[in-house]
Symmetry: C2
Subunit: 113 residues, 2 copies
DNA sequence: TGTATATGTGCACACAAATGCACATAAAGC
DNA sequence: GCTTTATGTGCATTTGTGTGCACATATACA
C-alpha cells in the first residue's frame, strides 16, 4: 500500500501548483477560458517572459494545453487531466483515513462496546 | 467557482509533499507506524538533523502529528487530515472536469445527435 | 552529580527556482 | 521589402530550499 500511496505523488504536478504566480494564472484561466500569453499577463505583476515560463511549467505538468494561432499562443486548462490526477491521488491515499490514525494501533477492531 | 478551486490549494500542504526526502519519510511512516526521529532516519541517506527538519515541515503542513515520550519524539501520519485535505481539493476542482475542456466552448449542451 | 543518548537549532554552503531585462525568432500588416 | 506585435530564450541576479556539521538543550541512567 505504501508503494501505491507514494507512487501516485507526481512531484512535477504538485510542484506546479505550489507557486503563487502559477496559481494566479490558473485562476485567470478558469475565469477567462483559453487565452493568449499577453492577455494572461495583463494585470498580473510579472513580466510577460515570466508568465510564459510559468505557462511552460504548467504545460509540462499536464495542467494546461496550448495551441498556436497565428503569432499568438493560446493556453487553456486541461480540467479532465487535473481532476483525474487528483482523483488518483485521493484513491491511493484513501486507506490512510482508517489505517493511519495518529498514535493509535489498528490491531483490534475498534468495537465501541 | 475560481475562488473555491484556488482557495483550497493549501500551498504549505502541497509543498510538503514535493520533496523526495519528505516523501520517503512519509513512506516509512506508512510502513512502520509511529516512530521516533532516529528510527526514521535509520537507513535514510540524510543527517538526523535534516530528517528532524523535514518532520517539522510535515507537521507544519498537518501531515504528521508528534508526541514527546521521554527523550525521544515520536511522529505519526495524520491519515484523516491528509485524506480530508485531498478530498476537499478534489471536491473544489471537480467542476473543472466538465467546464474546463481544453479549447472547447461549453455554451451549448454537447448533444451528440 | 556526571555521563550518555535523543532531538532540535545556528550557521555556512550548495543548489534549484523565480524574476527581469535584453534580444532572437516568428508571424501579421503596411 | 520594412515595421509592428507576440512569444520564447540567454543571461545575470535574487530568493528560496535542502543539506551537513557543530553545538545547545533536554531527558534518562549510573
Amino acid at each position: 500500500m505504501a508503494e501505491a500511496a507514494i507512487g501516485v505523488l507526481d512531484t512535477r504536478f504538485l510542484k506546479a501548483l505550489t507557486d503563487p504566480a502559477r496559481v494566479q494564472i490558473v485562476k485567470k484561466l478558469i475565469l477567462l477560458g483559453a487565452c493568449d500569453v499577453s492577455t494572461i499577463a495583463r494585470g498580473l505583476s510579472q513580466d510577460r517572459s515570466v508568465i510564459s515560463r510559468h505557462l511552460n511549467t504548467l504545460e509540462q505538468a499536464g495542467i494546461t494545453a496550448s495551441r498556436k494561432e497565428g503569432r499568438q499562443v493560446f493556453y487553456d486548462l486541461d480540467g479532465p487531466y487535473i481532476v483525474n490526477k487528483v482523483s488518483l491521488i485521493l484513491e491511493a491515499l484513501q486507506p490512510m483515513a482508517e489505517l493511519c490514525l495518529p498514535f493509535q494501533d489498528i490491531s483490534e477492531t475498534g468495537d465501541a462496546a
